[in-house]
Symmetry: C2
Subunit: 126 residues, 2 copies
DNA sequence: TAAATAAATGCAACAGTGTTGCATTAAAGA
DNA sequence: TCTTTAATGCAACACTGTTGCATTTATTTA
């Protein structure tokens, strides 16, 4: 793997992701960062984190990418992120659920990744 | 519900969706139509079909919307489309699986919709 | 410590997807 | 045939995410 360097922007992105224990969109991360950086740079950092398996990416039903460093993933390889995600339509947050994704497939299908989102109202919002 | 009118464009979109038994992106539908219409019109038709529950929409992990009129859905209300979808990375198709989505949730969560995609290689491509 | 290397960044431009306002067309009913 | 209004075409727009390229800067090496 390519050697990584420590940069303040990178640290800032990581700090934001760690502060919220939810999946965050690029824009949400960008807004909350305490150092200012270029949009493209933040995208590149997030994608780098994915490659390095520091975070995992979920594409929600709004078509946007969300990035999460979740408790459930700690220790475990986050890819494939085979747990459900929950998007609350009230508080507009996306969180990792401990619930693993289970299914039975027709013959001869091979699953490499999953992207599963349950949409509804979370415990805090009902 | 608002009264609908029959139009050739609408028929063409429906014909395309029926011809392939897969979930199709706007673009794929647009390419395969035998009458030429405006992009925006096709988008409006597809969204109308969703409202009228003629098709259901899936957002894949590429962030794009896909529209399907699937066998499994016939008779059943397609929303929430609580079955898994499978995207094959080889033939780049998305299909509805008969497999229903099952999960157990933390207390006090309510699920209103699902958007679950399994990604891998389908039976025809391995 | 100073020079060399290349990873990371800033900036700008771009591609792609999807939506919306508004004037016009045309389907359905009287 | 006339009326009503759903549906369309066109254009412009918003938004998300990516990429090329010159520049900066973290890290290694001398
Ligand atoms: Zn909530
Ligand atoms: Zn997760
Ligand atoms: Zn296939
Ligand atoms: Zn389906």
């Amino acid at each position: 793997m390519i050697k990584r360097r420590n940069t303040t922007t990178q640290e800032a992105v990581l700090a934001v992701l760690k502060s919220k224990r939810k999946a965050m969109s690029h824009d949400a991360v960008f807004q909350l960062m305490d150092v200012d950086a270029d949009r493209a740079t933040v995208y590149r950092i997030l994608n780098r984190f994915c490659k390095d398996e520091i975070v995992h990416k979920i594409v929600a039903d709004d078509g946007k990418q969300y990035f999460a460093i979740c408790d459930n993933c700690e220790g475990l390889p986050p890819i494939p992120a085979n747990h459900f995600h929950f998007r609350c339509t009230q508080c507009e947050t996306i969180e990792c659920l401990a619930e693993p994704i289970t299914y039975s497939l027709p013959d001869n299908y091979i699953v490499q990744q999953t992207n599963c989102i349950l949409v509804g109202v979370c415990k805090d919002c009902r």
